[in-house]
Each structure stands twice: as structure tokens, then as C-alpha cells.
Symmetry: C3
Subunit: 153 residues, 3 copies
Amino acid sequence: MDQLTLTNPVFATYAIAAAIMVLKGVAMSWLTVVRLVTENAGLRSPEDLRKTPFNPNPDPAQLGPNDRVDRIRRIQQNDLESLPYFFMAGLLYVTTMPPLWLAQVLFYGFVVTRLAHFVAYYTAQDHEIRAALWTPGSLVILYLGGASLVAAF
Amino acid sequence: MDQLTLTNPVFATYAIAAAIMVLKGVAMSWLTVVRLVTENAGLRSPEDLRKTPFNPNPDPAQLGPNDRVDRIRRIQQNDLESLPYFFMAGLLYVTTMPPLWLAQVLFYGFVVTRLAHFVAYYTAQDHEIRAALWTPGSLVILYLGGASLVAAF
Amino acid sequence: MDQLTLTNPVFATYAIAAAIMVLKGVAMSWLTVVRLVTENAGLRSPEDLRKTPFNPNPDPAQLGPNDRVDRIRRIQQNDLESLPYFFMAGLLYVTTMPPLWLAQVLFYGFVVTRLAHFVAYYTAQDHEIRAALWTPGSLVILYLGGASLVAAF
């Protein structure tokens, strides 16, 4: 009984969801790089103010806050507070051998609402919209973790 | 030889410990939400100062520091610096086929000291107490990682 | 076909790489402790200013920024933005049954460039050098995630 192989449809579902979230999470680092370059601001290390080919005109203001950069960092931090728990809870949940349809609802539901949460945060929607799109993902993780805990006892 | 299934007592021990830590970690997000609401402060995004049903009287001070909110964020950050490494090192350790009693001591010891660390941090105990409760969990991760590294070579 | 056991050379390669990164990541916490002690600064919680055996002469300045401590925290945060994604993407990639040589190039390449990135950040090299050493690791994660996604469909 190979639970953690791609021949298990539940694991394949998990793999698709987790891989998408990995790509999404890493994309935040690259989006931060893009914003650092386009804003020419939002740096954080003193050595970044050295005169180099990529920073020909250093200015101490480059180390100050910049909302267009900091917004991406907040989104990235939100991912860090969520995705590692999803990865772990999801993997454990696969070993409980859930029905495929339920795994699909939970894993893909997580992915869809997290991507929608990103769009809402990125475009600075009202807090209520952001919260409404954050909540389902968090509840999915709690369900995955709780169901795994019950099954493991 | 199914190592990563709940029929393996060592994996079941890991699953219980990891699931509890997932639930604990995600609970920090919800505790932050509770504190944001009860303090009516500690917000971080400019758009959170818009007048909405949940924030009928916006005030720029809501974006300033608030120790009751920031304390939970520090606890959450401490989790992020620890739990993903525990998840990974623990999973690798399961594949080294350790004796069950040792796995139980390490995994449950991690859980118990992390929960005690949370209580100490939450109630603002002296730094020494917090440090004393943080140390065992970190040593457990180092042992799990080191033992896995040796076994994998 | 036991994919996720140490008898699978690809998994053993992953286990070695992941265990090294766990030890590296956790070492950042201990390095922070060392710097907190040697700098006698960089504290973050109000209760850390209480007069205790380890802080006999509290001073509010101990809660202010300190670049020697904050540098380690930035390095640690950089790990948190990278390692959990590597752990997840790498595990998924193992289940795609890649050729061993390719897994070795990707997993060990990640480890080597991340360790070099640490040295560059720790010694405050120019931003360009740090960026050049960060990029390969991030591309490895994207490749691992992308290849896993394709294989899982």
C-alpha cells in the first residue's frame, strides 16, 4: 500500500496543491526583487548602500520603509505563517487515507482561496475581504491537522 | 516495510507530535486576530485604516506598535523559526527506524517543552525561564537532524 | 517500491541535503543567542529588561536595533523564506523518481550555494555577490516544484 507515491490519487492531489503553493511562495521572493529594483528602495542591509554597478547612486533613504516593497514582504510573511503548516498537515492527512473527493475539496480549496487572498492583498482590498479569503485556508489546515491527530491516536 | 504510514508506531508518534504543533502554530494566527480585535490596534497595512463595518472609527495610531499584539507575533515568529525544522528533521528521523521509546521521548519532549515555552512567553516570564524552555526543543531538532544525517550517509 | 526510505539513493541524497539545511537553519538561532550575549543588546521583549542574573544592569537601549544581532536575524529570515519550500519541493521531487545524478546536482547544489550565501551575508559582501549566491538555490526550488507539478498531473 504505497500511500506517499504519485500512483496514489490522494497523494497526487496533495503533490499538485503543495507544488503550486511552493511556486507561489517562492514567487514572492522574486516579486520582492522586482519591486526592490523598480522602486530603487526597500533595502535592509547596511552594505546595500555601497556604490556598485547595481546601485550607482546610493542614498540612505533606500533603507527606509517603502510600502510597495513592504506589501510584498507582508504577503510573503503571511505565506510563511501558513504554508509550512499546510505542507505538514496535508502530508499527515494523506496517510489517513481520506476519500479522494474530500482531499480534492480540501487541498484545491486551500490553493484557490490562498491565490485569491494574494490577489486581494496585492491590490489592497479592504481588510474584510482579505480576512474572508484568509479564513478558509486556515480552517482547512486546522481540519487537516485535527483529522490527522484523531487518526494517529 | 511501510515506514511512513500510521501502522508504524514511530510514524504515528511523529504524526501526533507534528499535528499538535501544526494546531498550536495555526492557533497563533487566530490569537493574533483575537488581540487585533480586543486591542483595536496592531494593524499593519495602510488599507486597514479605511472606514469599514469592522473599523468604523479608523485612527492612524492603529498602525503603531502594540505590545499585546506584538507579543503574539513574536511567539508566532519563534514557532516559524522552529517548527518547520522539527517537521523536516522528525520525518527524516522516522526513516532511520529508531526505537519507539526514544522517538516518543524526543517527539513528545519537543511538544511538551514547546507548549511550556508558549505559556512562559505568553505570560511574560523572565528571559531565563523562556530560554530554559526553548533550549530542549532546539536540542531535540539538532539531535533529530544529526542522527538522520549520520544514518543517511 | 520504497521511495521514501534511506535504501533509495535519491531519498538518501535528499535526506543528507535536508538534514544539513535543518542543522544550518537551527544554528542561526544559536548564533543569535551568541550575538545577544556578546553584544548585550538586540533584545525584543519588554520583560527582557528586568534585572536578572543574566541581565544584571538592564538598559532600555538593549531593546533598540543592533546590526550585529539584526544581521543574523535577516539571515535567519532568508532561511525561513527558502528552506521550508526546499524541504517540500525536494520531498515531492523524490517521488517523481528522478535520475540520481540529477537529484545530486540539484540537492547538493542547493546546499552548497546556500552555505556560500550564508558566508557572503555574514561577512557583509556586496549585494551583487549575495544575490548571485541566492539565485541558484531559488531556481533549484522552482525547478523541483515545477518538475513535481508536471509529474503529478
